[in-house]
């Protein structure tokens, strides 16, 4: 196990052969790119909308100040100080805590697998956006061309394209189906792109990040400008940002705010530690932490303004279509001249007709069209990107351009997060020296990408989307919160608050003030403990079920709620707890090794040396 690095043993100017960032901007961009990911686009706007619009910003900002920034500062500080990846850092802090590093490494690996699958889907949509009309604009005709495919007529064109033509999803998780060759091809391309960008570590990542981190901002701005000029955008913005302060009384809001900050900053993956380890030792990591965290939150806000503007436009457009359908029914039934009822005069006309001929009006399939109902239809996750937004894009003039821009933005956002994930895997492997020194770095990264590609083929099965949900819910959430908690406790209580503050002062030139010390000592661990306990409570309380897409379901197109079968539940448990087992396992292994070492030394009569280990 590695020895603890004392301050006097460290070189001052980074001349220890470790790769370095070309400049500070590259490092900041890489961290921002890792933190800003798909969750900023499709999770934060949904939370804002569900939890009372502008009022959600209050718990969000509180969580940022008391949980996000302090934890982030710790990660950057220990990475920069100890100049190792996650495994090396934790063995340096205390050999008994080496398991934390291993656990972070495992979680990074699992997350890379399924995160890249989302990128595969985005790439598939991107490739299909280069045509007019877009393939999800119309239902395909059925085999004897007498009508449209039945499933598509029931569910709508966009959902059909997503569930049938992209995923070709089975009705439940038991039936795995066959590997979808289209998705497999896209996955090969996606991992090839990832390999191209991480092949030489930060040397290549640093160049790629200029594009992948800045392009999303450009596209968001374009969409914002376009979105604000669309009809209905302002209604959407007003409705969705109007604060509803009552909702703050619900504890779920605070839990979700804290969780969102935690996952949004991509803490406890080991990626930030790896990035910071390539910094010169005397770098102001405190300022970096604050800057990156604030940029991440600003990006979330900026993205939610854009998304809300476009959702407002979509809601207005859907509302107009609903009215038009009703008007057409009325006109056809009563043989009135075309365009004799406008959208504005529809309520009056309906009232008049209902008064004079209620029998005939009652037979018509008229739907109640309220704008608020359409505005309330929020979606998060892949549903927002692949169903709701693709439908909104269909209504915009010049749809293929917007679709290409949107999916290009999603791909680059996800790619920059993948860089961080891969660094969280590759840097510890390099530090541990898994392959001999003469093997070039490209081979190691190539092997890693190949292993990840082969493992992730299980997500290209027909039931892949269900498995992705399993991984998303169970592999990442519980483990990361636990590791973050152990991180804080390990650094502050095992490594020592005074020692850590001295290191920070050596690096930044300033002793951490009372805000940092309070947060590290008390507030952040308590918040994390709170999140952990609530998570466990929710997990136990809620029966593990999932929503399946079953065309034979009687309430189709609503999704059928099914329970996970036994073996899947076992897999969920395994995913949740296996990474955590590294911590006690590694501590136990270290204890046994020590005991054996002491025994052998006693046997040979040597005095037990203080090897300078932690």
């Amino acid at each position: 196990m590695a020895q603890a690095l004392r301050p006097d043993l460290l070189v001052d100017d980074g001349e220890d052969g470790r790769p370095r960032w070309d400049n500070k901007f590259q490092y900041l961009l890489s961290c921002v790119g890792f933190a800003v990911g798909l969750g900023n686009i499709w999770r934060f706007p949904y939370l804002c909308q569900t939890y009372g619009g502008g009022a959600f910003l209050i718990p969000y900002l509180i969580a940022l100040v008391f949980e996000g920034i302090p934890l982030f500062h710790i990660e950057l500080a220990i990475g920069q100080r100890l100049r190792r990846g996650s495994i090396g850092v934790w063995t340096a802090i205390s050999p008994y805590l080496g398991g934390v590093g291993l656990g972070c490494f495992t979680v990074s690996f699992l997350v890379s697998l399924y995160y890249n699958t989302v990128l595969v889907w985005v790439l598939w949509y991107f490739l299909n956006s280069f045509q007019q009309p877009l393939p999800w604009a119309a239902c395909p005709p059925n085999l004897n061309r007498t009508g449209l495919v039945e499933e598509c007529q029931g569910s709508g064109t966009v959902s059909y394209f997503w569930y049938r033509q992209t995923l070709n999803i089975t009705a439940d998780i038991d039936h795995s189906g066959a590997v979808q060759w289209r998705l497999l091809l896209c996955q090969a391309a996606s991992w090839a792109v990832v390999y191209l960008c991480v092949s030489r570590g930060i040397e290549t990542t640093g160049k790629a990040i200029y594009f992948t981190a800045l392009f999303p901002y450009l596209v968001l701005t374009i969409f914002l400008v376009r979105g604000l000029t669309l009809p209905g955008a302002t209604e959407g913005l007003i409705y969705l940002f109007t604060p509803n302060v009552q909702i703050l009384l619900n504890p779920r809001v605070w839990l979700d705010a804290a969780t969102q900050i935690f996952f949004s900053l991509s803490l406890a993956f080991g990626g930030h530690i790896a990035f910071a380890s390539y910094n010169p030792p005397r770098n102001n990591c405190r300022r970096d932490a604050v800057i990156i965290a604030l940029v991440n939150s600003m990006t979330s806000l900026y993205a939610s303004i854009t998304i809300f503007a476009i959702m407002g436009f979509k809601a207005t457009s859907d509302h107009g279509q609903c009215l038009d359908r009703n008007i057409l029914s009325l006109i056809n039934e009563f043989s009135l001249p075309e365009q004799s009822i406008s959208r504005d005069s529809y309520p009056a006309a309906l009232l008049h007709l209902n008064a004079t001929q209620p029998g005939r009006v009652a037979q018509l399939p008229l739907r109640a069209c309220r704008l608020e109902d359409f505005l309330d239809q929020g979606a998060s996750g892949p549903g927002l990107a692949f169903i709701v937004f693709t439908e909104a894009v269909l209504h915009m003039p010049g749809a293929p351009v917007w679709a290409v821009l949107f999916f290009g933005m999603l791909f680059t956002l996800g790619l920059s997060s993948m860089f961080g994930n891969m660094e969280g895997i590759i840097t510890p492997l390099l530090d541990m020296g898994v392959l001999p020194r003469w093997v070039p770095k490209e081979v190691l990264t190539g092997l890693t990408c190949l292993v990840c590609f082969l493992s992730a083929t299980c997500f290209t099965l027909q039931s892949g989307s269900y498995w992705l949900e399993v991984f998303d819910n169970f592999a990442a959430s519980l483990n990361l919160v636990t590791f973050a908690f152990l991180e804080v406790v390990g650094v502050i209580y095992v490594y020592g608050m005074k020692r850590f503050c001295a290191d920070v002062e050596w690096m930044t030139g300033q002793w951490p003030n009372i805000y940092w010390r309070m947060s590290w000592r008390a507030v952040s661990p308590l918040l994390l403990l709170g999140i952990l306990l609530s998570y466990i409570a929710l997990l136990v309380h809620r029966s593990p079920s999932y929503k399946a897409w079953n065309p034979q379901y009687e309430l189709f197109p609503l999704q059928e709620e099914k329970l996970y079968p036994g073996w899947v539940q076992a897999t969920c448990m395994l995913l949740s707890f296996l990474p955590l087992l590294w911590v006690p396992a590694s501590a136990l292994a270290q204890l046994l090794a020590r005991r054996r070492q002491e025994d052998t030394q006693l046997d040979t009569g040597l005095k037990p040396q203080d090897s300078g280990g932690c």
Binding site: W124, L127, N128, F130, Q131, P140, P141, R145, T146, G147, L148, L185, C186, A188, A189, A192, V193, Y195, L196, S199, R200, T204, I331, N332, S335, L336, P337, E338, Q339, P440, E442
Partner: protein, 293 residues
């Protein structure tokens, strides 16, 4: 109002009833058409009160002179149109409803639906029927329209040459389906704006290119990535080879220096101990021999 029966006639199974009320008004019941005229004593301008603008026999519009035989002729004409109108009714056997949405399709360039357009429609239907084997003798007059509304929607039916029966719905349906495209084009409409309510339209086959577009873009991106990766790997190999060469050169140079050190300048260098920091006498002597400038 008291009505009494004035005449009942049977023509090929159809019943035609004329009712007369106490004011001597004759009522001829023909579905939607309700005509009345004063008793033959007073010759007044006929006031017709009917909804449809179908083309009744033009001769019925103008009244002949007021003769008893003329009444019979009048009756006969109404009989004929009644019979023909009987064939074309909403939900009649073998009748089809048509609905047009001209303003939706054409916007400002929408044309007004008048009797001339109806004539054109009847001509197109007759044209479609003439394409069916055994129906080549279909004339425009065999196509009847009724119930034209402001929507614009109406019912139509195709009769046989004897004008007593309507043609079976299957024949009409297949004829329309085969010529649907031409009918649409005549009116500048499409399947959604010119609807035949019981006739399903044949959907156009999906115009897929032979190679899907996504495969083309995928090929481009994949080739670019492979080429870039290969270049990167090759440049990495070259860089490493150059580094190895440089480091081996540096090693060689150091070795050479060590070897040469023993015989350089024919000065015994055993006494040389660079690390120890001893003075190099040979070097110092050289300097002293030179006169300073």
């Amino acid at each position: 109002m008291v009505l009494f029966l004035s005449a009942v006639s049977f023509v090929a199974g159809h019943t035609f009833v004329v009712l007369v009320d106490e004011e001597d008004r004759r009522y001829f019941k023909q579905q939607e058409i309700i005509l009345w005229r004063k008793a033959p004593g007073k010759l007044r301008k006929q006031r017709t009160n009917f909804h449809l603008t179908s083309d009744l026999n033009p001769q019925t519009h103008s009244l002949p002179c007021d003769f008893h035989s003329e009444r019979m002729l009048w009756l006969f004409f109404f009989l004929v149109t009644a019979v023909r109108a009987e064939l074309c009714q909403p939900d009649a056997e073998n009748a089809f409803k048509v609905r047009l949405s001209i303003r939706t399709a054409l916007g400002d360039k929408a044309y007004v639906w008048d009797t001339n357009e109806e004539y054109l429609f009847r001509a197109m239907v007759a044209f479609s029927m003439r394409k069916v084997p055994n129906r080549e003798t279909t004339e425009i007059s065999h196509v009847l329209l009724c119930n034209v509304t402001q929507r614009v929607s109406f019912w139509f039916v195709v009769t046989d040459p004897s004008k007593n029966h309507t043609l079976p719905a299957d024949e009409v349906q297949s004829a329309i389906r085969m010529n649907r495209n031409r009918i649409n084009n005549v009116f500048f409409l499409n399947d959604q704006t010119l609807e035949f309510l019981k006739i399903p339209s044949t959907l156009a086959p999906p115009t897929d290119p032979s190679v899907p577009i996504w495969i083309i873009i995928f090929g481009v991106i994949f080739c670019v990535v492979i080429v870039a990766t290969t270049l990167l790997i090759l440049s990495g190999i070259r860089q490493r080879r150059r580094q190895n060469k440089e480091s081996s050169e540096v090693d060689d140079a150091e070795d050479k220096l060590e070897n040469m050190g023993t015989i350089a300048n024919s000065i015994p260098c055993d006494s040389l101990n660079m690390k120890g920091g001893h003075v190099n006498d040979g070097f110092m002597t050289e300097d002293e021999r030179l006169t300073p400038l």
